[in-house]
Amino acid sequence: MAEENFKPKILIFAAEMAYRAADMAGLTKSEYPSTTYIVRIPCASLLRPELILYAFQKGFDGVFVASSGPDCPFMGEKCVDKTAKRVEKAYELLKEHGIEGERLVLSGVCSTCVETIVGKTEELEKTLEELGPIKKS
């Protein structure tokens, strides 16, 4: 159901290291979709599943949880598990609300992982282009 001229809106929750990677993407003059918006958070474990759902309900077509992965300055590897749990719960919530799970991605992004943050965002954009715009509730 791809529409013409549809530019999916993507929200990136960027934890400490991922935010640095996004900075690095700028420094290295990489490019990624311009309808991507970054919200800075210290650690992805802070994300409530309800907040992720909220972003979709308000009109974001996709959400990318960019955690610091095992590089998390707050809790290291423990972060991976905790964040995964939050996102799992978010998937359940999305399902309940009839939102496609593919719209939500999670990835650990180290402070120099420019390719990850750029690549995952582009991937998500493609997926969203195929899925089409989110239905606003």
Partner: protein, 645 residues
């Protein structure tokens, strides 16, 4: 309560932003928002007049919030908080929005889209600040106590500088002796002095500061926890088996029946199981290498109580306010067959060559054979464009020239060839290059596409080079020895994992910013110097070590530092006392306490809380919020970003 008199500042960044983002349009798009009192654009917000603009506006417009849209907050968040504070406003009623790295620079071919994005981002910043509350920093006492990891020249320099300013230093070294690779080297450039001499002098200084520097050799860090101001350190001091002084250590060493390859000399010589690595090594007590000792007791017969073969490891625990990492590098170990390494006798690395020089007097001999002709091959394990080590190791060109000149001076009739890519004898080190040429050392240049080839023919090693200086002529050099000028490799120490310090792309430790904060890491209170940060020579290493001392002293002389106030807070009305948050906290900062009426509520220890927000993420009632990142703020940011432009 909503902050509704917000000042908004859009920075041109001297074109960095304004070449792509239409900053005037951004101002237009936000200036009439109900929360905004004033919106402006300016060439350089971080400059003096830019900051003054904020300060003046706070007073004149009675602002209760500030948003600056410019570069990454990692660069200038502190700068602008300072300005906001000087303007008389709480510095946490401020948000820096990144429209440079996150918009102008990544969407430079889509100026309109970048502008629209900038508008949305700025609006999200306004949304966040509109709900921001005043916060105050958490003051952390900084006792003048520092852990220095590694006692090579960097660690020693840092320890000395700190001790002289009355800081108590715990200097922990893995090896049984201090001095690291400088002690092992031959002559240090540019002073031309022997590495061991330089270290000896530093050791003399160190002895004077004994009361302030606690040195642990043969010691490993077992655990490291805590945060700036209070790191808890557990060190395991492994037994030296030599526990006291004895005037006959040399006899004891002689009597020891065990002989093993001497690692200090890269196996060129043998040592005993009880040994000193070199004359003047520090600490002055020898060490027994228990892996090789057969406990025959010969040494005990001579030194008696000074030796205790049953000595056990000890554990020492202490607290420090900051940690200095000075763990150094590893020389690159070439792969088998790389330029004939480990394939042909006579192919050795530069550090081994330096030890060989230290050991060969009169004649330069290797495995009993005199060496007359030497080829140095540069950039081994460095400058591999698509390989493992893309970086240049910086010191090897000059170190190689320095070694070849020293060899020429020490031994007669040497013939020396340098097979190089670019001679990076930078700065004043040019003179080594010049002198080598003058002394008749020959230079041949190779390109990475056609590296030299080392072969063996009878007695001789043959180096084949396509020499660029003679426009690609194939030259064959029969030599006795090939010295591989190997680069520096980063080490990966357990302490790095314990502290979670970030690495750069090249695998060395990453500073916050090479120009703004060159000796600090992203982990508060953890500083770096020397070659764990990047390849460097001794001059640059000791300079960085002193710089680390200076940075540390800005904390310890003042006696405190201030931490961000971003910690979790509990809304007692919403908290049901379910306790889900308690195990979620990585620092055990939460506990359930009974309140009046028998109910239980979560309580947060402000000092232990590190501000990750995990407790908020798990709470089923949204009863816990992280200050500075409250969920109502995040929701309003989302609202602002989806709104049409």
């Amino acid at each position: 309560m909503v902050n509704d008199r917000i000042g908004v500042y859009i920075c041109h960044c001297g074109g960095n932003i304004s070449d792509v983002v239409d900053v005037y349009k951004v101002v237009e798009a936000v200036k009439d928002m109900p929360e905004v009192a004033v919106a402006r654009e300016y060439m350089f917000m971080c400059s003096d007049p830019g900051q003054k603009l904020i300060e003046d506006d706070i007073k004149n417009y009675n602002l209760n919030g500030v948003v600056v849209a410019s570069c990454s907050p990692h660069l200038h968040e502190l700068t602008f908080r300072g300005a906001v504070q000087r303007g008389g406003l709480n510095p946490y009623l401020f948000e820096q929005i990144n429209i440079r790295e996150h918009s102008a620079w990544v969407h430079k071919h889509e100026p309109e889209a970048a502008t629209e994005k900038a508008i949305r981002l700025v609006r999200s910043g306004i949304a966040k600040v509109s709900l921001a509350r005043e916060l105050s920093t958490i003051r952390v006492d900084m006792e003048p106590k520092v852990l220095v990891v590694g006692a090579g020249i960097a660690g020693i320099r840092a320890a000395l500088d700190l001790a002289k300013a009355d800081v108590e230093v715990y200097l922990v070294e893995k090896q049984p002796f201090i001095g690291g690779r400088v002690a092992q080297g031959y002559g240090a450039y540019p002073s031309g002095r022997m590495g061991s001499e330089i270290i000896k002098e530093l050791i003399e200084e160190l002895k004077k500061e004994e009361s302030k520097i606690k040195l642990f050799t043969n010691a490993e860090i077992k655990s490291l926890g805590g945060t700036i101001g209070k790191f808890h350190v557990v060190v395991q001091v492994n037994p030296r088996y030599v526990v006291g002084n004895c005037s006959n250590f040399n006899d004891a060493i002689e009597k020891c029946p065990i002989e093993v390859p001497d690692e200090f000399n890269y196996g060129l010589t043998k040592r005993k199981a009880i040994y000193y690595p070199y004359e003047g090594a520090y600490p002055e007590l020898p060490v027994i290498d228990m892996e090789n000792c057969n406990k025959c007791g010969e040494c005990v017969k001579i030194c008696g109580g000074a030796i205790n073969l049953e000595q056990e490891a000890e554990t020492v625990e202490f607290d420090v306010s900051t940690i200095v990492l000075a763990t150094g590098f590893n020389p690159y170990e070439p792969k088998e067959g790389e330029f004939g390494y480990k394939q042909f006798e006579g192919v050795i690395t530069l550090p081994v060559f330096e030890r060989l020089m230290a050991l060969s007097n009169g004649k330069l001999t290797y495995n009993g054979k005199e060496v007359k002709e030497i080829a140095f091959i540069y950039c081994v394990g460095s400058r591999e464009k698509d390989g493992e080590h893309e970086y240049c190791s910086r010191y090897c060109c000059t170190a190689t020239l320095n070694a070849s000149l020293a060899a020429l001076e020490k031994y007669n009739d040497l013939r020396i060839y340098h097979i190089y890519r670019d001679i990076r004898a930078y700065g004043k080190y040019e003179r080594y290059y010049e002198e080598a040429g003058k002394k008749g050392e020959l230079f041949l240049r190779y390109v990475p596409e056609e590296p030299p080839v080392v072969e063996k023919e009878g007695d001789k090693l043959i180096v084949k080079v396509k020499d660029q200086l003679t426009f690609g002529e194939e030259i064959e050099l029969p030599v006795d020895m090939v010295v591989l000028s190997v680069g520096m490799e980063p080490r990966n120490e357990d302490v790095f994992q314990m502290l979670r310090v970030p690495f750069s792309r090249d695998g060395f430790l990453q500073e916050i910013h090479p120009k703004i904060r060159p000796v600090e890491t992203a982990i508060g209170g953890v500083l770096i110097c020397g070659t764990c940060q990047a390849p460097r020579d001794t001059v640059e290493t000791t300079a960085s070590a002193s710089a680390v001392a200076a940075k540390t002293e800005t904390y310890t002389l003042k006696g405190y530092t201030e931490l961000e106030p971003f910690i979790a807070e509990v809304d007692a009305e919403k908290c049901t006392g379910c306790g889900d948050c308690v195990p979620e906290c990585p620092t055990e900062a939460i506990e359930l306490k009974e309140v009046a009426g028998g109910e239980k509520k979560a309580f947060i220890n402000e000092v232990l809380c590190i501000g990750c927000g995990a407790c908020g993420g798990i709470c089923p009632e949204e009863a816990i919020n992280l200050r500075g990142y409250r969920y109502d703020q995040l929701r309003k940011m989302i609202d602002a970003m989806v709104e049409e432009v």
